[in-house]
Each structure stands twice: as C-alpha cells, then as structure tokens.
Amino acid sequence: MIRRILVSAALLLSAFAAGAQSVPFVNIADNSRRMALGGADAAYSASKILDDSYKGSADATYMMWQPQALGNNLILADGYFKLADKFALAAGGRFNMYKPIDVMNEQGNPGASFTPSEYMAFLGFHFAAADNLAVMANAKMISSSIAPKYAGQAFAADLAVAYDIDGLTIAISARNLGTKLSYSKTVQNNLPMTVLLGAEKTFEFGDNALDLALDAGYMPLHSCMVAKAGAEFSIQRIFDIRAGYHFGSNKAVEPSYASVGIGANVNVLRLGFAYFIAGGDSPLKNTLAFSVGARF
C-alpha cells in the first residue's frame, strides 16, 4: 500500500517535471574530494557524527563550473563541529557567480547587461542515535537572481540516516525538500529534489587505504535516475588519488561525466583538486575545483 502511494506521488511529481532543473548548483558536492569521487557523498555526509577521531572540520572550495560555456565561478564553504559526543552542528554556504548577460528585447535589440547570481546557506544538525546509527538534518535558504525582475527565494531541508555495519556505512537521504523557488507571482520553479541511497567503506593496507563510495538516487520531479561512484587510494595517509563517475539517466536533466582528483594531508590541513572529464559537446569539460580544509 505504501509503495503504491510512493509510486503515485512520483508520477504526479513527474507531470510537473521540466527538461532541466533549476538551481542545480545546490546539488554539487561540498568539496573537491567529493567532486573527484563522482559526487558520491551520501553515506559520508550522514555519518560524520560516528567518526570519533575528530572534533570537527572546515573546508573552502573554489570551482570553475563549465568554464568554456557558462564560465561560472563557484565558491563553497562548510564546517562541522561536535558539541558533544553525540551532537554536532554544521553550517555553510555557496555562492554562484555568472558572467554578465546581454539583455535583448523581442525584436533583437540590445538593452542593458545583467549579471545573474545565486547563493545558498544552510545550518545542519547531526545526532548519534546509537554507536552505529546517525541522523542528520539541514535547513537551507536558497536565493536566485537570474534576470531583471526575476529574483526569488526558496527554503528547503535535507534529511539523512546512516547505519554502520563493521565499517560499511549505509545511508539514505532526501535532499532539497522544500518550497518552490518563486521568481515572480507567475514564475515558480521546483527545487532539484533528490532521494539517495549511499554506501561507503574503507579498506586499509598498512599505512595505505582504499575508500570506495557509491550513491544511487532518484529525482522524482524529473523522473530521473542518478548514480555516483568513486574510489580514493591514500598513500601513507598523506597523498590521495581519486577517480569517479557521475551517471545521469536523463541527459537533458543530469549529465554524465567522469572525474579525477588528487589530495594531500599535512597534519590537520588538507588540500584537494578535482577535474571533470566530459565528452562530446558537454559544457562540463574542463570543470575543476580547488579545496583547502582542516580537521581538528
């Protein structure tokens, strides 16, 4: 019975689906490490509270998104801090800067130029319900200004549950559950809601380690499946080599691409670089990101 309701809801939502998603920048992974792993981060994001080796972390990332097409500059920052063994707060945001556009009227006559911009801010809560069970919730505010007279806000939440079985972390999360992005009274767009099932496990080989992560998701408003897979090999816990793949079942909504990256860890600092490999006419070609972070 429950299953039937879920299927019906998916069909209903799909009736409103558009050929592309609005404000997709909210679905980009938090930092270059996760970007290099194809964006697979569901299990990691939900289970941070279960890792007792650190009190917290903070990362900042600069990303050149679609440098040959849109030419966006994306700045991401987030942080995480344990208030107690079982509680932690997270906070962060991202700012998406576009190149100026040339406003043209219906006859093709140029007008003034306009520079679109978008940002998102969130505040999160992590709780260890048991030694191997974690829950997470984020509250988000999203703002988008894309053209003269077209600017709007939306509010959303991310929810996730993670369970650890002998080092294998399995998580389920729902992202961008919230209001429509309202550009005007007559123009309102759905957020890119996504349901993810993720798993991640680390295999250690002496001072080296191999981390595998896998996400499978569904975007009900676009009737679109998405999958992300990534692997990280850590040498002496200092250098990391990463690779991943991002799969979108509907290429008009979520493109597929491969990603690679490297990382370095020096004491509490960590550096990262990610690069997207895309074929054909994909505008994601040459997308890259740099991150710097700290764990403490």
Partner: protein, 888 residues
C-alpha cells in the same frame, strides 16, 4: 373762499394721514413692483428715485405753498417729509419768464426713503387738488469707457497717418480723432465717416467765444490744459466759483468728472495750442481766436450715483447766457416710453428764452436755444429725455458709417454723429480730468459733436436775427446720408461743412480754363477750379452737354463732379460719359457751392464724338487642341479691353457641367479661364467667353476641349525587405522601379512605418524615398502612391536594422515565452548547442536562419536558469549565455 376750501381739504387730508398712520409705516418695497403715473404709464419702482417725488402743483396749491409754506409742508407731514422746495428756484430777473413758463409750480418733495413710492403715491392721491405727481427716474450717464491714453503715452496710438488735412492744427492727437477727419487708414474705419469739420475750420470758423454751450453732465475739469482757455466765466462770481454750478451739492464749486470732461473736450478743447486734442468749436489759439465757451452745469459726481436735477440745470444754462444745451444723460429705466413733464418744461424754457434778456430781446448770438440730447445706449426704439420733440436727439455711428451696436434708433432721432463702437473700430478721443486724454464710446460721445457743430454754425453765421429754427434747419438739412451704407434706422450723419456752408449766398467764379479730348462717346475734361468768395473753393463742377448749341444751362443735360480735396486753382479731371456715338456736341462747365449757387458758365466748346469700337479678347496661349486629363487643371490667362474705355460685361458658358470656369483677377480687364479635370467626366466639351460693352458691341471666343479619363497607377514589383547593418545607414528607393502611372502625373507618396524609431522614410519630389536606419530593430513599412484621382497602389516590406559586426542576433534575453530566436544578416546555417545550468545539453541541432526568418529554439520545457548557447557557424563560433524563464 378758494383758499379756505383748500385749507379745509388740507386739514381733512391731515386727518386722513393721521388715521392711516399704520398704513404709512415702513414697508419693504418689492423689487419688481410697478407704479402707474398720472399719464397711465407703468413704471418699475426699482428704476425710480426713492424718497423723492416731483410735484407740478395746481394754481391753488402753488398759492398755498407761496403764501403759507408751513401749512403747505404740513400736508406731507405723515410722509416723514424732509424738505419741499421749488424745482426751479427763484430766478431773480428771470423770475417773471420762469413763472410765465409755469416752472414756479414744480416742487421737489423729499421724504423718508423707507416709505415705498406706491404707498407715498396713494397718500398724495388723497390730497385734494394737489396737482400732477411725477415719480423721478434714476439718471445715468450715456457712455462707456474704452481706453485711456495718459498724457504723452503711445498706447493705442493706432496707425493713423498725419495728413495734410489734419495739419491744419498742431494738436498732436488730432490725427487720431477720426471723428473729425477719417481717411479710412485705421482698422474699423471708413474714409469719410466723420463730421466733415476740416473745411469749416479752413474756410468758415473755428468757433467764437460769443457762443456759450452749457454742458449738463459731470463737472468739467476747468483746469485741464486743453480746456481752461475755453471755460465760461460767471461774471457774478469770483475764484473757483466762476465755471458753472454744482446741482448735486447745490453750490457754485464744480468738481471735475470724467464723463463731463470728455464731452466738453469734444465740444471745445482748445485748438492749435500744440497740446492734446482738438475740439469741434475750440477756436484757434495760435491765431488768438477763442473757441466757444464751456459752461459746466454739474449733475454727476465722479464715482457716485448721486445726481442733480437735469431740468434745473438746463434752465440755469438759459438764464446764464448759454444758447446750446449739451446733454449726454438719460434715465436708467429701459422700459420707459415717456419723457418726464418737468424735463419737457425745462427744455421748452431753454428753447424759448436762451439768448434772450428778461425783456424778450435777443442778447446772444442766437434768439432761442437748442437742447441736444444723446439718444441712449440701449439699442432700442426709445430714449428719454432725447425722444422729446423739443430737443435734438443724436444717435451714434461707428467709424465705418454703421449704426453703433448699442445706439438707440428710430424716427424720433434727429441726427447721427460719431460715437464709436469698439466692437468694430475705434472710440472717440477727448479730454479727461488731470490733463489726461482717453477714448470713450456712446451716444454721449456722439451728442457733443452735434453740440460742437451747432456752436460752430452759430459762431459762423450767428448774430442779430439768427434764430434757433435757422440753426436747426441747417443742422438737419445738410447731413451725410447713411442710406447708401444700408443704414435706415437712424438719420444722416451731422455734416459741419454742409451745415455751415449750406447758407452760402455768393456763387463761385466762372470756369475759365478747360481742356477736352474725345474717345468714342466719352469726353475727357480737365478744368481749373475757380475761386469761391465765401466758401474758399466750390463744392463741385457741372458739365453741361447738348447736341444743340446753348447759351444758358436751363434744360441742358449735365453731369456733376465734386472737387473733394481739391481747392481753387487745382485742376479737376473727369469724363462726360454716355454720349451718343458719332455726334456733334456743345459742352460747357460751371462751378457750384454747397448751397447750389452756380457760377457763370464757361465758354461753350464744340466737338464730335467717335464710333463704338468692338471689345478685344486676348489669351496668353493659343486656345487650340485643348486636352485636359482628369488630374490636370489648365489655366488660360485672359485679357480683354474696350478700345473706347467703356466698361465691359463678361459672360462665360460651359457645357461640361462645371469643368471650365472664369475667374476675374481683381484687375480690370484681366481674368483666367480654368479647366479643372478633377472629378469631371471624360468627354468632348466647349466653353464660350464673351465680353460686351453697355452699348452692345461685343467679342467672343468658342473653345472646344477634351477631358481624357484617368488611368490608375500600377505596381511593377514589390519592394524587397531591407536590412541595414548599422544605425544611420541609408539608401534611396527609386519608386519608378516599383510603380508606374500611364498618365505621367505626379504621384503623391505616402509612407507608413510601424515603428518610427527604427527607420525613417522621407519622400522626395523626384519620385524617390530616402530611407534612413535610426536604431536597431525591425519595422513594417508600406509605401503608397496616389494619383490625382485618389487611385492608390502600395507595396509593403520589412526593414531590419542590426549590428552587422555580430554574426548572429540571439534574442530575446531573457526568454519568457519559451522561444529563443537566432537571426543572421544573411541566409546561413549553423549548429546550435544549448546547455542547462547543470551542464545538460538541452538542444543540439543544425538550424537555418536569415534576417527575416530567424531559427527558433524551443526552451518551453526547460526550467528557469542561465543557459549557455554555442553557435557553430560556417566561419566562426559564438559562445554566449541566455536566461530562460519558465514556470513549473
């Protein structure tokens, strides 16, 4: 016995008043209440003076008033009487004739103004044998102000040019006094519409101080620079009390008032003193000739509705030497149809006793007086007191010979004079208090012109034996007729020269110098104007003609020619017309004055008239094979003349129904024949043009002509769409490449543009259109050509103005209706890749595009966001971003 009976009646009346005290109590008078006087006339009480009744007492009641004034006053005690006194006070040495005229019986009764006149009348009616009760109408001045010229000001000076006529005096404002000399040079004036006084000044008189004019009006400014020298002085008074009498304040101190000062200036402003204006009878100061004297009988005060007794003032003038009484006043009641009896009695007194001493002997320049009244400004067929037959009523004429719109009219009016009419032209210029000058209009302003002319006549011909009847006869018998100007409801315009010279007795001298020439049946003459001993110059020349010899002019046909502005010694030229053709004639001339005294005739001249030649018609182009298309108008300039100089009559006939017509040019003997093909049915027609003199000699032409049908314009091909690669680019469309009209007529070009900001189309006179790109954009354009018959053909096309440095126009941005357009200046193809913000390719196809058929990219399924667009053309690749707006 009679006195006793009156006393008894009076006592009874007192009792009655006593009994009816309640009825006499203060009762408000209704605004529209009427009262009937003893002549049976209904009068509106609102138009009557309140608290004032004039009584013409019976003989018995007069005796009571004079023998027992206290008892007499007691008769009116219950009326709240304030005073009872004679209307015409004891006149001293003239009291005898005053009583003979019955004026001693008039009394003015003043009582409480709160008592309604109707009630007062009722109370007076019960007084036995009281006499006649006269309710007094409210008095008014009969003029309205136009504009005031301050001394030395150039305001409203008009464009009158000083002429030889007005050079007679050096008064600087004389050229503006059109009412004395009107040469028609000012707007609203017509030459000759004046009182013709200049010839009188030149040849007869400028006025005499022996003549006194009493101005019954507001007080005259006796210190005015242009009046002081002509003011009358009372020999019995001194100081400031010598100029007349103030009938409002009952003393001898005259107070200057605008209306009275203006009127006085017209009568006798000082002439030739280098100051201000001229007066009709103002003398000639430069030659030490004083003008007629102005006596101020003041009945109005500046700025006040209070008035004195006009009747008393008129009589006072007669008793103090005036022979002409000037009255520009009347009554407020516009429905009144009678003249009050006391006014009539005063006028009769003036007429009889002015200029006469207490013994009945003539002592002034005229025996008897003349009372002259303004007819009134209500534009109606009555005016009081002017309508009384004992006075001369004067209507007002505008400067164009027409009755002034406000002027009263009718058979009772005796004369007209210039009073001005600001609705059609200028008003009358005269003096105003304080050495000022200004223009007023009204019959008030017309009236003093007649008074002035009357004074001039008396000055010129008055003296022992000259009577008022002689004066009136001259005034009324020598006017300028207004009938030929279509004015029939008022009499002729006062004519000073006619009236003064109308009594000439000495005929002009003989005509001695004559030159003649003959043309057909017309004799042209040139005559030297002889002298006239008493008139200076004759009024006209008579030309006598006969087919038989004559020595006297009796029974001989003649034609008269006025000399107008010419004077003795000048040559008058004219034509004796309408003689018989080929006939021997005897011709002689004499001169005549205004009294029609003819001088001796000249030597009789013998001559023979010629034949009647046929008129001649000429045209500037040959009138052969005349063809007119329906769009054409052809004009033929015609000239025609009579070799003999006879007037010609033109006739024109056309059988087309109006296509051909004749139009006179305004110049004698010239005109144009016009054939207008517009609207005329095509076909073969003819017109006939004929000129004929009055004696039947004629010439004519008959001209056939053809009107050909119209052929509409046609389109050869459509005008191609136009693309401009930059703003301010331009090109010229030669419409001959697109349209053709077989008739070859000029075509009217009309350009319609949907957006005038994008492109401008300017038709030229050589059948081209100059097209200029103004700003980027598109416009729909229609170019139409229309022939003279309104047949139209048109071609529509589009115009695109774009930046040719950009290979593609990608629009709109943002996309709001789901369609993104890609346009190029020339036809081309390109691959277009559109990617979403997430990097998904949403469009990837090859498209074709050109200036007016852009490629259309469907983004209607795409969410709102910033998209990248990549266009891979044949020679270059474009990367840009656009925004799509979409509602989920």
């Amino acid at each position: 016995m009679k006195i006793r009976r009156i006393l008894v009646s009076a006592a009874a009346a007192l009792l009655l008043f006593g009994c009816q005290k309640q009825d006499v109590s203060l009762m408000p008078q209704k605004a529209d209440e009427t009262i009937v006087n003893q002549d049976g006339e209904k009068l509106k009480t609102s138009s009557l003076e309140q608290g004032h009744i004039r009584l013409q007492l019976s003989e018995e009641m007069t005796e009571l008033a004079e023998t027992d004034p206290d008892a007499f006053i007691q008769l009116f005690a219950e009326l709240g009487v304030k005073s009872v006194s004679r209307t015409f006070p004891d006149a001293g040495k003239f009291e005898k004739r005053t009583r003979e005229a019955g004026l001693h019986r008039w009394y003015d009764l003043y009582f409480d103004e709160e008592i309604p006149l109707t009630k007062a009348g009722e109370e007076l009616s019960v007084i036995d044998n009281l006499g006649y009760v006269e309710y007094r109408p409210k008095m008014v001045r009969i003029a309205s102000e136009d504009v005031t010229w301050r001394s030395g000001s150039q305001a409203n000076s008009g464009n009158i040019v000083q002429t030889a006529q007005t050079d007679i005096f050096d008064d600087p404002m004389l050229p503006k006094q059109w009412h004395y000399y009107n040469n028609g040079s000012t707007y609203g004036t017509r030459s000759g519409c004046d009182i013709n006084v200049i010839p009188v000044w030149k040849n007869k008189s400028t006025g005499s101080s022996d003549v006194i004019v009493s101005v019954v009006d507001g007080g005259i400014d006796f210190n005015h620079e242009d009046l002081a020298a002509n003011m009358w002085h009372n020999p019995d008074k001194t100081g400031q009390m010598i100029y007349g009498y103030n009938f409002v304040k009952k003393n001898f101190v005259v107070e200057p008032e605008s209306h009275g000062t203006h009127v006085a200036g017209t009568v006798s402003a000082v002439n030739n003193n280098g100051i201000g204006v001229s007066g009709v009878a103002g003398g000639n100061m430069a030659k030490n000739i004083a003008g007629v004297r102005l006596m101020s009988c003041q009945i109005f005060i500046e700025g006040s509705k209070e008035s004195g007794s006009g009747a008393e003032a008129i009589k006072w003038g007669a008793d103090h030497g005036a022979v002409i009484s000037q009255n520009s006043w009347g009554y407020e009641d516009e429905q009144r149809t009678t003249v009050p009896r006391s006014d009539r009695d005063a006028i009769d007194y003036f007429n009889q006793y002015a200029g006469v001493d207490e013994n009945g002997n003539q002592v002034g320049p005229m025996k008897g007086g003349v009372v002259i009244f303004a007819a009134g400004n209500e534009n109606r067929d009555f005016g009081a007191p002017a309508a009384y037959e004992g006075c001369i009523a004067v209507a007002s004429v505008a400067a164009n010979f027409r009755r002034a719109g406000y002027s009263n009219f009718g058979d009772w009016v005796d004369l007209s004079a210039p009073g001005g009419d600001v609705e059609t032209g200028p008003a009358v210029l005269s003096t105003l208090p304080g050495n000022k000058y200004g223009s007023y209009q009204g019959t008030s302003m017309a009236c003093p012109h007649v008074s002035g002319v009357a004074a001039l006549i008396v000055s010129a011909v008055g003296g022992p034996g000259f009577t008022r009847d002689m004066l009136i006869n001259r005034l009324l018998s020598n006017t300028t007729s207004l009938v030929k100007y279509g004015v029939r409801d008022i009499p002729g315009l006062v004519n000073a020269y006619g009236a003064v010279a109308g009594a000439s007795t000495v005929p002009p001298e003989q005509v001695t110098t004559v030159e003649t020439s003959v043309s057909s049946n017309k004799v042209h003459f040139k005559v030297k104007i002889p002298k006239d001993k008493d008139d200076g110059s004759p009024y006209g020349i008579s030309a006598y003609y006969s087919t038989e010899s004559f020595k006297t002019v009796e029974g001989v046909e003649c034609q008269n020619f006025q000399v107008e502005d010419l004077v003795a010694g000048d040559f008058l030229e004219g034509d004796i017309v309408d003689l018989q053709f080929n006939k021997k004639y005897y011709i002689a001339f004499d001169a005549y004055d205004l009294s029609l005294n003819h001088g001796p005739i000249s030597q009789v001249i013998q001559l023979t008239t010629g034949p009647n030649a046929k008129p001649v018609i000429e045209c500037d182009v040959p009138l052969e094979h005349v063809v007119v298309r329906t769009f054409e108008t052809k004009v033929f300039n015609m000239s025609y003349y009579d070799p003999d100089g006879h007037d010609l009559t033109v006739s024109f006939e056309d059988n087309s129904g109006g296509a051909a017509s004749f139009h006179e040019s305004g110049k004698a003997g010239q005109g144009r024949i016009q054939i207008d093909g517009k609207g005329a049915p095509d076909g073969h027609y003819e017109f006939k043009f004929k000129v004929e003199d009055r004696y039947g000699a004629a010439d004519s032409i008959v001209v056939p002509y053809v009107i050909k049908p119209n052929t509409p314009p046609v389109k050869i091909k459509d005008i191609d769409n136009l693309v401009f690669g930059a703003q301010n680019e331009n090109l010229t469309l030669n419409l001959a490449d697109y349209f053709y009209d077989e008739d070859g007529e000029p075509l009217a070009i009309k350009c319609t543009v949907s957006d005038n900001n994008v492109v401008n189309l300017a038709p030229t006179t050589n059948n081209t259109v100059f097209v200029t790109a103004l700003m980027f954009g598109t416009a729909d354009v229609t170019v139409s050509v229309t022939d003279a018959m309104n047949e139209t053909v048109s071609s529509s096309f589009k115009v695109l103005v774009r930046d040719s440095s950009q290979p593609f126009d990608i629009y709109p941005n943002p996309v709001t209706d789901g369609n993104l357009y890609i346009r190029s200046g020339d036809a081309t193809s390109a691959k277009v890749v559109v990617s979403s913000p997430s990097g998904a390719v949403v469009f990837n196809e090859a498209v074709s595009t050109d200036a007016f058929s852009p490629a259309v990219i469907d983004l209607s399924k795409c969410a709102s966001g910033v998209y990248s667009v990549k266009i891979i053309g044949t020679s270059e690749t474009i990367n840009t971003t656009i925004v799509n707006i979409h509602n989920d």
